[in-house]
Symmetry: D2
Subunit: 295 residues, 4 copies
């Protein structure tokens, strides 16, 4: 690679001692919204990347791994997926995956940062694709918490694609018992609530385990699942919560029937992948079995 192509780098700092350096081919945008800093860049390996507050949110090359994992197990398991709610998900790919299911008749997405939505439409059209213009989509720019409290509608599936509830994050006030009660109030009876839920890496499982412990106080079935997302340099975890469905026990035939009806082809997910996602290694099962703090 000639030197002129290698002057600008995106450095993701995982800690004071661990960093991933990506040489960038282009910086499309770099700025601040009222809520966070935003950048859209392009690297040779990952293609376009969306960066919020210095953290990779998704990359063109592997965002389907993340978004198919977030959306399809929950939709496959839901007894009623006609109406879906997405919290966050500003880049539009969660919306895109939800709308690939012909059973979905309406999908409401609530994101607080309208600038991220606008930047994603402009710079990341591959993410949202036709979903932004789908008649079933209702994109609300606003506070997810207020939305949950003010609406009376219920949803068969609620997908939370918020950033992690770290102290400085705009998502932090969205992770506590009051909010879970609000979410349950919006969830149809027996519906599925799924959320991205921090990392499952051996060195950093504590936040995920705390999220899982907290949610077990609110739902009959709370299942952890995870996959390595290369652009995150980490094993990324999710939680599937329901009073009726145990996603770890979902029948392979049900999954494959669901996948077969999706518009377009999956890249990552089907019944075999589902088996991988929900089969957890020993060290993670041990961590999840520990007692400890809740939110």
């Amino acid at each position: 690679m000639p030197k002129t192509e290698r002057w600008q780098w995106y450095v993701e700092e995982f800690s004071a001692t661990e960093q991933h350096h990506h040489a960038l081919e282009e910086t499309y945008y770099s700025g601040k919204t009222p809520f966070q800093s935003v950048a859209v860049v392009r690297s040779a390996t990952f293609g376009k990347m969306l960066i919020l507050d210095g953290d990779t949110q998704s990359s063109q090359a592997d965002e389907r791994i993340y978004h198919e994992t977030l959306v399809h197990p929950a939709l496959a398991a839901a007894s009623d997926r006609s109406s879906v709610l997405i919290l966050g998900g500003g880049e539009g790919a969660t919306l895109r995956e939800v709308l690939r299911s012909p059973d979905v008749r309406s999908c409401t997405m609530v994101d607080i940062d309208g600038e991220v939505v606008a930047l994603s439409k402009r710079y990341l059209p591959e993410w949202g694709a036709a979903a932004w213009d789908d008649a079933r989509a209702d994109v609300v720019i606003g506070d997810a918490l207020a939305f949950l409290r003010e609406r009376e509608q219920t949803f068969g599936v609620i997908v939370s694609d918020l950033t992690e509830p770290l102290p400085d994050s705009p998502s932090h006030p969205l992770f506590n018992g009051n909010v879970f009660r609000d979410i349950k109030a919006r969830l149809a009876d027996g519906g599925v609530y799924v959320l991205q839920a921090s990392t499952a890496g051996f060195h950093n499982m504590a936040l995920h385990a705390k999220m899982a412990r907290t949610l077990r106080g609110f739902f009959v079935h709370v299942r952890s699942f995870y996959t390595h997302v290369p652009a995150f340099d980490n094993d990324w975890a999710f939680l599937a919560c329901s009073d009726r469905s145990d996603l770890a026990a979902l029948d392979p035939a049900t999954i494959d029937a669901y996948v077969a009806k999706l518009r377009g082809e999956n890249y990552f997910y089907d019944a075999e992948t589902h088996r991988r996602l929900f089969a957890l290694p020993l060290y993670l099962r041990r961590e999840l079995a520990k007692a400890g703090e809740t939110f």
Copy 2:
């Protein structure tokens, strides 16, 4: 972290545009053997790390993920695990895992680089642990190829822990049809040959797929399995080859019975983890199904 702790870094270059930077707390050793460059360092997140030719070989914090995956599925599936052969594996952890099985009566390990073995005994005692002194162990410093050709013994399990067959690697001549014929000659009838087999990352699956295609010409059952190894920043793949056992179909009860007999506790592997390892995502199954070159 004070500045004085952060002056020395290990930079692993995955490509001209992707790097992982680890701040080091200590460099125990850095030098060259007749075969490769070797370093033993320590980082805050990964503990001690063994680096060969600039690539991470294993880290104290997660080497059990790699070594349990390399060793135990094969041993669990083998009809006869009384005698095991390890090719490579200089740091001793593969030997340690093999010897945890009380069914193993002898384990021969052949590594060409005696200096790596000596450095591992000195600086990485946690890797080999008591295995170096186990009466069942026979550590041979020498050329694996010559060993395969000169011995007449057969083994119920052969574990290949060689570095990747990249053009400049000392392992390169060990990956071709002649060698596989030699390996089969040393493998007991119906035995299991398992090897670490490059990456399964979405951006770099080609070498693994080529290895798999090649081995399908030699064995009835050739199964890919993989796990994310955090210290490698990658999904790491393995191949299990046998004329009798299909490791993807191994019975959970058999696995758990095998694991229950191991000395000490597993960190990563059991029947549920086995299910994860062998359940492959769509994109990898598609890659493996493609026709293409062989070695």
Copy 3:
């Protein structure tokens, strides 16, 4: 510094083993012209920086060190500075410094890359300042070589602010005997030709010495001078060539009288600084005294 401010870095590679990393606060522009890649960025220490083909060209914080050194010794020494020619100098600061002298009645600047000129006007207004609109300025977008051959005018001072004549640079064809003959043809009798002339760092003096040796074949007096330019991380060298003036012997009173007449205040240069610039350390004098190749 919060993590969100430190995700983007400009890495200047001096060699395969030496790099300077600057955390960037902003990337104003990054793209390619027909001649080179261009970026305008901002760092905390250096302010705005202009980067061509991955190399720092000038920084807001210390560009006066470079530009005062390039321009004022030559103008102070020239017997006639009424008309000045600048080759290159696209960011406009060389033009700005020349026009600070009230003795200058016209200054022609010839730069091949009109996009760099336009980007500098837009993003680096501090560099060119009022000079772009000065009635004495004549900015020609075009090939310096063609300009030298086609014009018949002569100039009392010619200032070359071209990038280094490295093999891939657009400046490479501008550094050879034919060009020096063309320059002499445009230089008034006894005029001064000054050029930026690569580094004088102990580890990288060879190109400068070769430039000096070459020019000694064309001019009676050829003097090296240099200063450390922090944004370049290097000792930067210049050559002053004249058949009449020996700049190393220039009278301090002449310098101070010249400086006193300049519009605005100098930051770096006066008679004492001149003494520093032209007093060379032993190792550099030894290098310059060696025989060797010429261009």
Copy 4:
């Protein structure tokens, strides 16, 4: 450069946003003494480097620039250089330069960190060379402050090669009025006290100026001088203090006579270099002329 040669890097952090990265060919030593962290490494451009608390102290390739500048102007100016005191200077190169003068009959060096002295003898023999065994050398491991107070001897030249008086440095208590009184008490009448005195870079002159202001309260003549030291990535400053000698006005003939008598050849320093060292640019003279705090 092959990848295997480029895995280990020394990162010097100048600030949270500026870093110099050196690829290392070897780490000879890395550890901690009771006073500081110490490393001895080797890079392609700079050769061996001594690093204390994460900061470059000297490099094989350019240490003569630093050490000749620290020692020879003071010795050249001193009316009596028969006995010299060095404070700090653990790597031995300051001692080596002092002993190159045949006029020096004894040189006492006091360094608190005996481990740095021992490591320098072992790993950096090029620095101290024959000086360690010179009969005129008296190397005292101990506290410089105690030494100054307990001895009654006076010295014609005192050379301070202590690390910068930053808050956490072992040198911090050695920089205040009481210490300067102690130093004057040990300095022969009309002797010269010279010290390394932080940076003169445009972005970081404040500490140097404060040191200069402080010393003007103790000596008739206090002169700043500086040179770019490539391994430091910075303009490095010194202060020459004397009640009799003004080093900025030192006669070139005196300097050249002094240099001619030195054993071996200089690399950097002679009368012309002296002129460069003491001729300061405008911005630094302005900074030094400002009123402000003292130590």
